[in-house]
């Protein structure tokens, strides 16, 4: 649809006044990435009787909320956890679910160190492929590939429930990333990590988009979360800045509220970050719709 003169004028002004992008999410991501790294190092050092002050020591499984998810069946039926899983995984699982009900998969967008790692690799990919970056997979194929993570999720939960073993560890790139030197990491997991790293040069967050079973589960919260990404069509200038900013390729500009199962609540599309018009794309509850006609 051709743009009106007013829209063109607004878009042009907006481009000129593109603001400073908030750094809070990056700070939180770095914080959690460093925290997990230090906890992992501390766990290794502790075996030699050394420890980093103020940093806890715990296995990676103990601080991964997905461990709680795969343990639910065994806990409900036998009252015990799947091997390597502890109470902390269950508590983190509950924390992630509560946050997801309120804000969607913020654990994916703000906390998950593997997501952060893929974003960092992606920055390099963006420099190499420029505009083609994150747009290389044909939309028709991509549409279906996005559902493969649900198949993986069902398989992982089913196999873990029936074998009571943490089989996901054998393909988990997150575990491989923080334990790549350990003989506990399977070759398959290392291969998945390498493939994820290479794909991150072309596609933003490939593991999250196509394979992460935990992302798939948390992604369902986008259908009913309390706070949603909401767009006010009355002030929108159709510049598509929100669509371009979305790491998950969600067409934010085509609706009034994002209910896409892939949204990671990163807030990159909001008026605070990419949208050039104030109070047009916000992360809000349903009550804030004053701009809509």
């Amino acid at each position: 649809m051709p743009k009106t003169i007013l829209e063109k004028d607004q878009a042009s002004k907006a481009k000129k006044t593109r603001k400073f992008k908030p750094w809070y999410r990056t700070a939180v991501q770095i914080f959690f990435f460093m925290l997990v790294t230090l906890i992992t190092i501390n766990t290794i050092l502790e075996k030699s009787g050394i420890s980093i002050p103020l940093i806890a020591s715990a296995s990676l499984h103990a601080i991964c909320p997905f461990g709680g998810v795969v343990s639910i069946y065994k806990f409900a039926t036998v009252g015990t956890f799947v091997q390597k899983i502890h109470e902390s995984s269950f508590i983190l699982m509950a924390i992630a679910f509560i946050l997801a009900i309120a804000f969607g998969p913020v654990i994916c967008g703000w906390v998950c160190p593997l997501g952060t790692y893929q974003e960092w690799i992606g920055k390099l990919g963006r420099k190499i492929f420029r505009k083609k970056y994150n747009n290389l997979i044909p939309a028709k194929l991509d549409k279906y590939l996005r559902f493969t993570r649900y198949i993986i999720m069902i398989m992982v939960i089913y196999i873990t429930a029936t074998t009571t073993k943490l089989m996901f560890q054998n393909i988990d790139p997150y575990y491989a990333l923080f334990n790549f030197w350990s003989d506990e990491v399977s070759v398959t997991a290392l291969v998945v990590l390498v493939v994820t790293t290479l794909l991150s040069l072309f596609v933003e967050r490939p593991w999250c988009k196509y394979a992460c079973p935990y992302g798939a589960l948390l992604g369902l919260s986008n259908l009913f979360r309390i706070f949603k990404i909401r767009r006010a069509p009355s002030t929108c200038v159709n510049c598509k800045a929100c669509d371009k900013a979305c790491p998950m390729n969600i067409p934010v500009s085509t609706g009034t509220a994002v209910k896409n199962h892939q949204c990671i609540s990163c807030m990159k599309c909001t008026s605070e970050s990419s949208c050039p018009v104030t109070s047009t794309v916000d992360f809000s509850t349903k009550g804030v719709k004053k701009h809509e006609n």
């Binding site: 999410r25 502790e46 009787g49 715990a58 091997q83 508590i91 924390i95 913020v106 906390v111």
Partner: protein, 245 residues
């Protein structure tokens, strides 16, 4: 209501660490196993420890503490020939030692220890497919447990003869003599090791300010149960060890 990214950052940090803090205060937050297995919920064995909950991190001493299966029997059953490893050997180490059996679709690992303990104690247990017991374990069970004919038939069917060569190679360290540099107080050190290194029981008791527990107990596990930081007694114990070098 609208949320900005700085609010989101604060909410995430406060909610995660607040929840962890509250659950820690309530004693719910646990990132390690307290080495106390769950019990059977109902039936004839209600209240007894369930071997199904034996984790890979359990040492043979932990199993002795809860199931009262002697570490000597466990070690002999699973081909651990070095007495200095009887107490400290972790179930998960079996998977690495006998990993070569996987090619034949057999597994001697933590599942095998669970199975062995269940049969040894006469507790109900459904072994997972592919779980095998070494022939030495089968012999011990036959001599020390009251097994039904069907159970004997079953364990004989699912037993493996572990090659002697692997048995020997698994019992590292090869020498029972421990060099001075190896005498370091670590998270896996047991009270027995301290005694073996020449530290006197009364000196250990002075450091821990308590009676010394069973010598097979790992020092770090002892500090965890007493709510003491391991680091606070590690250095004084190391000094005692160093004084004996």
């Amino acid at each position: 209501m609208k949320i900005k990214s700085q609010h989101m950052a604060i909410i995430i940090i406060l909610f995660i660490f607040g929840s962890v803090g509250i659950t820690s205060t309530l004693g719910l937050w646990k990132t390690t196993n307290d080495k106390v297995p769950t019990t059977y919920r109902d039936g004839e064995f209600a209240g007894q420890y369930n071997p199904l909950d034996i984790k890979g991190s359990y040492t043979f001493a932990d199993i002795f503490n809860t199931f009262e299966v002697p570490v000597e029997d466990l070690s002999k059953a699973f081909g651990i020939t070095d007495p200095s490893r009887y107490s400290t050997f972790q179930c998960k180490e079996l998977e690495a030692l006998y990993g070569f059996l996987a090619a034949e679709g057999k597994e001697v690992g933590t599942g095998s220890v669970r199975y062995f303990v269940a049969l040894y104690k006469g507790l109900p247990f459904d072994a997972e497919e592919g779980t095998y017991l070494p022939k030495t374990a089968v012999d011990i069970l036959k001599s020390k447990s009251k097994l039904t004919t069907e159970q004997i038939k079953n364990i004989e069917k699912y037993s493996v003869d572990l090659p002697v060569i692997s048995s020997v190679s698994t019992t590292a360290p090869k020498s029972t003599e421990v060099s001075a540099s190896e005498k370091a107080v670590k998270s896996s050190t047991t009270f027995k090791e301290l005694l073996d290194w020449g530290v006197k029981r009364e000196d250990i008791e002075k450091v821990i300010n308590d009676k010394m527990p069973d010598s097979s107990k790992v020092v770090k596990d002892y500090t965890s149960t007493k709510g003491i930081e391991f680091s606070t007694i590690k250095d004084p114990l190391q000094k005692l060890v160093d004084a004996k070098k």
